[in-house]
């Protein structure tokens, strides 16, 4: 359904499929406080997050909860001099605007985890449009599905993870 290329895709969107876009470094070095806040938010007692001796033995030092991956590219809610809200997953918002679809939801996420992320890492993310579907009507309204990959690499160029998001941009049917 969602991986099938659309037959009516505008040329300007077609040329973006497979292209790496919005490569950018996270706004701050990875900090350990987020590891604890994340683990606390789900009452995760895994000792690799809480006990340095265990982390040294098992993971060669502290590592971030793996599912915290997307946090490292989410922009600050506000920053000095920023006049336009900076959005995560910009391709998603580009497609909403391009197709005039005011609403959108994320329907599926698949994340593959590679090198663990550690305190002080500088994470670079880049987005890639994988596919866009033909227009179709679902319970929420009429619109298109799209699939976007976000790749994360550390300052050594090592792949830390890939998130694959499936979104559905739509307009409510009258």
């Amino acid at each position: 359904m969602t991986d099938v290329a659309a037959t009516d895709l505008p040329a300007d969107v077609q040329t973006l499929i497979g292209e790496l876009q919005y490569e950018e470094q996270g706004e701050f070095p990875v900090e350990r406080g987020y590891f604890w806040t994340s683990a606390a938010s789900v009452e995760n007692a895994n000792p690799i997050f809480w006990d340095d001796a265990v982390a040294d033995e098992i993971t060669d030092g502290p590592v971030a909860p793996l599912t915290l991956l997307s946090a490292w590219f989410r922009p600050h809610h506000w920053a000095p001099g920023r006049t336009v809200e900076k959005l995560p997953l910009q391709i998603h918002f580009d497609l909403k605007a391009r197709f005039g679809l005011p609403e959108a939801i994320m329907t599926e996420n698949v994340t593959t985890f590679h090198e663990p992320i550690r305190p002080g890492d500088l994470i670079t993310s880049a987005q890639r449009l994988v596919s866009v579907s033909d227009e179709q009507t679902r319970r929420l309204g009429t619109g298109r599905f799209w699939v976007i990959d976000v790749e994360y690499r550390n300052q050594h160029g090592e792949l830390c993870g890939v998130e694959r998001w499936t979104g559905f941009g739509y307009r409510r049917d009258a």
Partner: protein, 155 residues
């Protein structure tokens, strides 16, 4: 500590039940740097999104699933892949129950032991989130999946 030879297809993981509150939702959203208002602003969630309340965000649901899996594997369990599909939101006041069952057990070409799990997050009789996880577990007491890098880590 769980090792691969102790795991069989069909094994059922211990359920995790949790009473979700507004604090659960807001803490989870902010912990994952998700500032979108439907995860902290009741009025926005109700009036703009048309749902009954603020609801758990995607990365925090991932964090709950990660915790659920590693509660079972122990600290040497290393998540390789996590897929989840959200069917219905999870709201404050819900008691969510995370359940899991072993779908496959295997060893790959680099001798890494893998377990594939089918997971759900349920509220009452309603499945809110469907998930699949692939987690590496030690093949012996001396094995440690976290020591795998590059060609020896193929999630």
């Amino acid at each position: 500590m769980t090792t691969l030879e102790k795991i069989s297809v069909g094994d059922v993981l211990p359920d995790l039940a949790y009473d979700v509150t507004s604090t659960t939702v807001v803490l989870g959203a902010l912990a994952s740097r998700d500032w979108r208002p439907m995860h902290h602003d009741h009025h926005f969630a109700v009036e703009r999104q048309g749902v009954q309340d603020i609801f758990l965000n995607s990365p925090n649901q991932g964090a709950w699933l990660e915790r659920f899996v590693t509660d079972w594997t122990g600290p040497k369990g290393r998540l390789g892949r996590l897929r989840f599909k959200m069917r219905k939101p999870i709201f404050p006041g819900d008691t969510m129950v995370i359940e899991g069952v072993v779908r496959d057990v295997s060893v790959d070409a680099s001798a890494c032991g893998w377990v594939e799990l089918d997971l759900t997050i349920r509220v009452g009789d309603v499945i809110c989130t469907e998930s699949e996880a692939k987690v590496a577990v030690p093949t012996s007491p001396d094995d440690n999946p976290w020591q795998r890098h590059g060609d020896t880590w193929n999630p």
